[in-house]
């Protein structure tokens, strides 16, 4: 006997099939996989539910990039600095062994205590961070190492120096580089996927998203301030633009949802890391044996297909 939640999910899936111009081939080919994915989601998010994901995505006890690195990578060596100006601790880059092979890791890093939070700038990277990520991606490309990105940022840092050092251009060029890589790339949104700061490292062959992560064009607070002219309407704003994982999957923005331990990733870091590692491994396995040229072509075609519009007749 299907539960009410399941019935609603199936309805959502049937809507997905009928969505116009969502990139037909992609939807047709992946409906089965989406069905399996959607089965994992236990309930239809409503306003409270969506706000709950926002809170879970920002939970202080949620595992951060280095918590995962400790658990899923061996021999991790951090690489620092953009080789031009500075090192940006808000974005961690390095090489390590994952499943016995070398991968490049790029990830935003938040922190729990105040001093460390300040040092990590709350996971908000400067252009120097994105330039560091670019040089590590280039290194990976030269050696054929897969690039794994872990996205967890409220957004790129909105400061004077960040602007002067070319924040917009750095985000654009990091994406442009990712569109050129001839090595497999997997990104996972592990907390907050905040706008340009997130997409800068997430133009990947496979984009995954943890069950309680959020991925959005603007923070709920920012959206509320602009459209409602009142920051306190953040829950309404979040409900309106729906940054939750199910919605991102529905729109084809992410390829798969990564399950979290019951109650959320913050309850059991080891289990969360195991589930994340499984998902990354599965994605890398799917990409094994595909030529660099073909990876690049498919990656561009995937992003080219994103968007929903109508043709006026």
């Amino acid at each position: 006997m299907p539960t009410e939640a399941e019935v609603r999910l199936r309805e959502r899936l049937s809507k997905l099939r009928s969505l116009r111009l969502l990139g037909g081939a992609k939807v047709d080919g992946e409906v089965e996989r989406l069905e399996r994915q959607l089965e994992r989601i236990s309930e239809e998010p409503v306003e409270d539910g969506i706000w709950r994901s926002v809170e879970l995505a920002r939970d202080d006890d949620r595992p951060y990039t280095l918590d995962y690195v400790d658990r899923i990578m061996d021999d991790f060596v951090e690489l620092r600095g953009d080789q031009v100006r500075a090192d940006d601790p808000a974005l961690v880059c390095g090489l390590g062994h994952f499943d016995g092979r070398t991968v490049a890791l790029i990830g935003h890093q938040k922190a729990r205590d105040l001093r460390e939070r300040t040092r990590r700038n709350f996971g908000m990277a400067h252009p120097e961070g994105y330039r560091k990520a670019m040089r590590v991606m280039q290194l990976a490309d030269r050696h054929g190492f897969p690039v794994v990105s872990l996205v967890d940022t409220p957004g790129a840092y909105p400061g004077v120096a960040a602007e002067q050092h070319g924040q917009g251009g750095a985000i654009a060029r990091s994406q442009a580089l990712m569109a050129r890589l001839e090595t497999p790339t997997v990104a996972c949104i592990i907390g907050e996927g905040g706008s340009g700061g997130a997409i800068a490292i997430a133009l990947s062959d496979r984009v995954l998203m943890q069950e309680n992560a959020i991925y959005s064009v603007i923070s709920p607070e920012g959206c509320a301030a602009i459209l409602w002219r009142d920051q306190d309407e953040k829950a309404k704003a979040a409900a309106a633009f729906r940054p939750d994982a199910a919605h991102c999957l529905e729109l084809g923005v992410v390829d798969a949802i990564v399950a979290e331990p019951p109650g959320g990733a913050q309850t059991d870091h080891d289990e969360a890391a195991r589930l994340l590692a499984d998902a990354i491994r599965a994605s890398l396995n799917e990409l094994d044996g595909v030529s660099g040229e073909e990876l690049k072509r498919r990656r561009r075609r995937k992003f080219r297909s994103l968007g929903v519009y109508a043709v006026n007749t």
Partner: protein, 284 residues
């Protein structure tokens, strides 16, 4: 499908500004000079007293730049959809309808083919008057088609941007227009076709953080705000003291982010020269 979530709120929270509080659009914010429409248009909408560049609508911009009669518009039939059933103080569909009525445009970008100083090119021109020139699925799609047109005809693409960034009403799909347009630019690069990016006021957030910054040559209009984050938000979040020219074209030029600042009366001939340099003679 579950019923749409009601996100409307009491309108008393957000009083509309009275019209009298806004300066007249033809009054120069630089020096206070006031112009009739025809006077402004005759001078490419540049203030004759202080050189302030007033904003230019997309069709007017095309008219200023291209050889007369050479512009052929493409993809004019694309319209925004409402994938989220979004509404804030007003439904998105209503905002779209109002913008279309007000501007006579289907969305915030006009694309097509044209020639500038007898050099063939593709064009992608944004219109700030259409919902703040925000980039949603239609702008992203049109820009990609402009790139594809340029590749097909083997001509450079000239983009003119004026945008507040991604269109929030399309949620995450608007963010996806960043990688989408970036991929289209990379396809142009692979095909050996150049992108000339002209940044007009304002070119900010999602548009600056995607195709606009990827021009092989990047040109700014004088006084244009070119910033990932605008001065008000930077001030509010960081409490930093902002330099007087924060985010302006002149500051971007000083920091090495743009190749040139070109005043509007010189823009057409400047583009003509660049197109001459970036067009491959052996390709006809």
């Amino acid at each position: 499908m579950a019923s749409r979530i009601d996100v409307s709120i009491e309108h008393s929270h957000a009083p509309e500004q009275p019209d009298s509080a806004k300066p007249h659009p033809n009054t120069c914010p630089g020096c206070g000079s006031h112009y009739r429409d025809d006077e402004l248009d005759a001078h490419l909408r540049v203030c004759r007293q202080c050189g302030h560049h007033f904003s230019v609508r997309a069709r007017a911009r095309v008219g200023q730049l291209v050889d007369e009669g050479s512009f052929v518009e493409e993809a004019a039939d694309l319209r925004s959809d409402d994938p989220l059933g979004f509404y804030d103080l007003r439904p998105y569909t209503e905002r779209l309808a109002a913008a279309e009525l007000e501007t006579g445009l289907g969305d915030a970008m006009v694309i097509g083919e044209a020639s500038i100083e007898r050099r063939a090119c593709a064009l992608a021109v944004m219109d700030f008057a259409f919902m703040g020139g925000s980039m949603g699925s239609v702008v992203g799609e049109k820009f990609c088609r402009a790139c594809e047109g340029a590749i097909e005809r083997e001509v450079p693409l000239v983009s003119v941007t004026a945008s507040g960034g991604a269109r929030m009403q399309e949620g995450i799909l608007s963010l996806m227009q960043l990688p989408k347009t970036v991929c289209a630019v990379e396809d142009m690069r692979d095909a050996g076709v150049a992108l000339i990016s002209v940044m007009a006021h304002p070119t900010t957030a999602g548009v600056l953080a995607s195709f606009a910054s990827l021009g092989d040559v990047v040109i700014a209009e004088p006084g244009a705000l070119l910033a990932f984050t605008g001065p008000r938000v930077v001030q509010q979040t960081t409490r930093e003291k902002l330099p007087d020219d924060f985010g302006l074209a002149e500051s971007n030029y000083r920091f090495g982010h743009v190749d040139a600042i070109v005043a509007r009366p010189q823009l057409r001939s400047y583009l003509g020269r660049l197109l001459g340099l970036l067009t491959h003679a052996d390709r006809g």
